[in-house]
């Protein structure tokens, strides 16, 4: 009944955008998505799988109503081959129907060897594609009936698929998190093997290129459960102008390759701190003693002490550690790793 489904569309669209906005893990959302699709049109079994383009494999996230034998197939590489044959690995592919009219080529082996013997009469495959064309994974809906679904149903599924893709997009929370730095002018995503992925909506920057000192600093310092890191960085090597770097740890994901979102934004008020004092703060943040600061920056011990005293006055801090912690929390320091020329001798 197409008219019935049309009235359902706003409700389903709304619930899907709520699912996409929730911060649940993909695996937890999968049953909810299938339940929602079930209301658009019934099926007897279904599964959600995520595609890992790097290893060209499918990660079975959730299945329901399937026997152990079928689940084995769903977790096997054979599934990827079937999807390939059915164009289901293609971006923006419309829903694909499989039923007994499909020729018995070994191209769609899974259907004939597993789904059909399990008693299913038809299967509808959905390709989950993001708005920017990334193939994220697939959903399969199996029914005992052999009757092909009507066009209106397929059209509704097609529309819903776009919204469903959003729920499973690993970059969704990441992009949402990046919105927290409201004045960011550049950004990138740092992955676990220290590569970079562009961040939707923000340009990249030379400072954020793969292997750059800024990204190495982030990788070295944002771990052990730290969620956020802010520091200052010269806009180019040796420059007197500074930019603010904010790194936000990516929440866990089944294909957990994302490390953090790294953003550049205009620097915060500096309380009159000089570049030298910001360098000293970078060392205090790392727990350097006054003597170690002097050694690291090639200063007379008395000069280092004077710097620390000035910093404490400017930050209205009652002790050097209070100053260091205040700097750490506001991102008011130049990390020692970024002015490499002068240190390394100091104890860490």
């Amino acid at each position: 009944m197409p008219s019935h489904r049309e009235s359902l569309a706003p409700e389903l669209a709304l619930e899907l955008s709520d699912l996409a906005a929730a911060t649940r893990q993909s695996a937890e959302s999968a049953p909810a998505v299938l339940e929602l699709l079930h209301r658009a049109g019934s099926f007897d079994a279904g599964f959600v799988s995520l595609f890992d383009p790097q290893d060209r494999r499918q990660l079975l996230l959730h299945s329901q109503g399937h026997s152990a034998r079928v689940q084995q197939f769903l977790a096997s590489p054979m599934l990827v081959d079937d999807f390939e044959q059915l164009s289901l690995l293609r971006a923006h592919q419309r829903p694909v129907q499989v039923n007994e009219t499909i020729s018995a080529l070994d191209s769609v082996r899974g259907w004939w060897e597993f789904m059909r013997p399990a008693g299913f009469g038809r299967s509808v495959g959905l390709a989950l594609t993001t708005a920017d064309g990334r193939h994220l994974g697939n959903i399969g809906l199996q029914s005992i009936t052999k009757q092909p679904p009507d066009d209106a149903y397929i059209e509704l599924l097609h529309r819903l698929t776009r919204l469903v893709a959003r729920v499973f997009d690993p970059l969704r929370t990441v992009s949402a998190i990046s919105q927290l730095v409201t004045d960011a002018y550049a950004g990138t995503i740092l992955t676990r093997p220290a590569e970079v992925i562009p961040l939707s909506g923000l340009p990249g920057d030379l400072l954020l290129a793969a292997g750059s000192p800024v990204l190495s600093t982030v990788a070295a310092r944002l771990h052990d459960g730290l969620q956020m890191l802010t520091f200052l960085c010269p806009t180019s090597p040796g420059a007197q102008t500074l930019t603010r770097v904010t790194a936000l740890a990516c929440p866990p994901h089944p294909l957990g390759r994302l490390h953090s979102v790294v953003l550049l934004s205009p620097p915060p008020p500096r309380y009159g701190l000089t570049i030298r004092e910001l360098q000293v703060l970078g060392l205090l943040v790392d727990g350097y003693s006054n003597n170690a600061v002097a050694a690291a920056l090639n200063l007379a011990p008395r000069t280092a002490v004077a710097h620390v005293e000035h910093i404490m006055i400017k930050l209205a801090a009652s002790s050097r550690t209070v100053a260091a912690v205040r700097a750490l929390r506001q991102g008011l320091y130049l990390p020692a790793d970024l002015h490499t020329t002068e240190r390394r001798a100091a104890p860490r």
Binding site: S17, T23, R159, L163, A249, L284, Q330
Partner: protein, 309 residues
């Protein structure tokens, strides 16, 4: 499929698409207005967020209005008008026509809360009433600022409670999580969080002792810059994680150092030698010196904040 129905349905999906787009609320609002314009002909429109503490609407996107009209839309007088027209309150109308029937206003609400307003100036606006009622919830989702706060909460793994702090000194719940009071007395935690935010911290964490005497990790994140701008930060409670075997006196000493107390004062206050505690703290945190240990403890939120003097 003829007539207006497919258009309306397309509109819902297009708006839902925008609702999840990774961009600022203002950019989303722009995109929503552009999309709506392609289906519903009109010559002026706005999307605005309601600021409860100042009791006025601040615009996210709008076009077609004169400077004078814009001033009116931003004024407390307009917010009062909206109340009178019956758009706020427990049983609000789904849509309301302006007095001269040239404009239609749609209240945007999510989870029972009034978020803001969608307005449209067109000839015979009443014929769009039904369609606007259908799409209003999706528009509301798209511009709900709390969605950004929820995204922020995802920085903390498995939060168990949360509270949003406002500039005026009150608190708001974060949709989807119980308030801090679910974990024990919230007032000292909120006070410490406010102190950190007003000292300019963009993020900070510390420990609190929960109702069951176990430790909880408190994470504070500044939300300055997120519209409508009356929220100053968000406070999240989670499992304390790895405490490196630090004892209660050690966590207390760390908190006192971070509050700027000197050794002698700490010694007198706690009636013990803070120096010797710092030695064991350094060992447990594998820190090269006492300053390193204190900063490290602050970075990881491994301390019990000193009670305000």
């Amino acid at each position: 499929m003829t007539g207006a129905a497919p258009d309306a349905e397309m509109l819902i999906f297009d708006l839902a698409d925008i609702a999840n787009r990774p961009c600022s609320l203002a950019a989303r609002a722009e995109a929503l207005l552009t999309t709506i314009r392609s289906v519903i002909a009109h010559d002026a429109a706005f999307l605005s967020l309601f600021e409860p503490e100042r009791c006025l609407h601040s615009p996210l996107a709008r076009y077609g209005y004169s400077a004078q009209r814009k001033r009116h839309l931003d004024s407390p007088a307009f917010a009062d008008d909206i109340t009178t027209l019956g758009l706020l309150g427990p049983a609000p109308a789904a849509t309301v026509l302006s007095v001269d029937a040239s404009e239609i206003y749609v209240p945007l609400r999510a989870g029972g809360d009034y978020l803001g307003l969608f307005g449209l100036r067109t000839t015979a606006p009443e014929r769009w009433q039904e369609q606007l009622t259908v799409v209003a919830p999706i528009i509301a989702r798209a511009i709900d600022p709390r969605q950004k706060l929820t995204a922020m909460a995802s920085l903390v793994a498995d939060p168990i409670a949360a509270t949003v702090l406002t500039r005026a000194g009150s608190t708001e719940p974060l949709p989807g999580l119980p308030g801090l009071e679910a974990c024990g007395p919230a007032a000292p935690v909120v006070a410490e969080a406010r102190a950190l935010l007003s000292a300019g911290a963009s993020h900070a964490s510390f420990l609190a002792v929960g109702a069951s005497a176990g430790y909880l990790k408190v994470t504070v994140l500044a939300t300055a810059g997120l519209p409508p701008g009356h929220r100053s930060g968000i406070v999240l409670m989670s499992d304390p994680g790895h405490l490196h075997g630090l004892t209660r006196p050690e966590l207390t000493v760390l908190g006192l150092h971070l509050a700027g107390w000197d050794d002698r004062r700490i010694h007198e206050h706690l009636d013990l030698t803070a120096g010797s505690l710092l030695e064991s703290i350094c060992r447990k945190l594998a820190a090269p010196g006492r300053d390193a240990a204190i900063v490290q403890a602050a970075a990881h939120g491994l301390y019990l904040p000193a009670a305000p003097a």
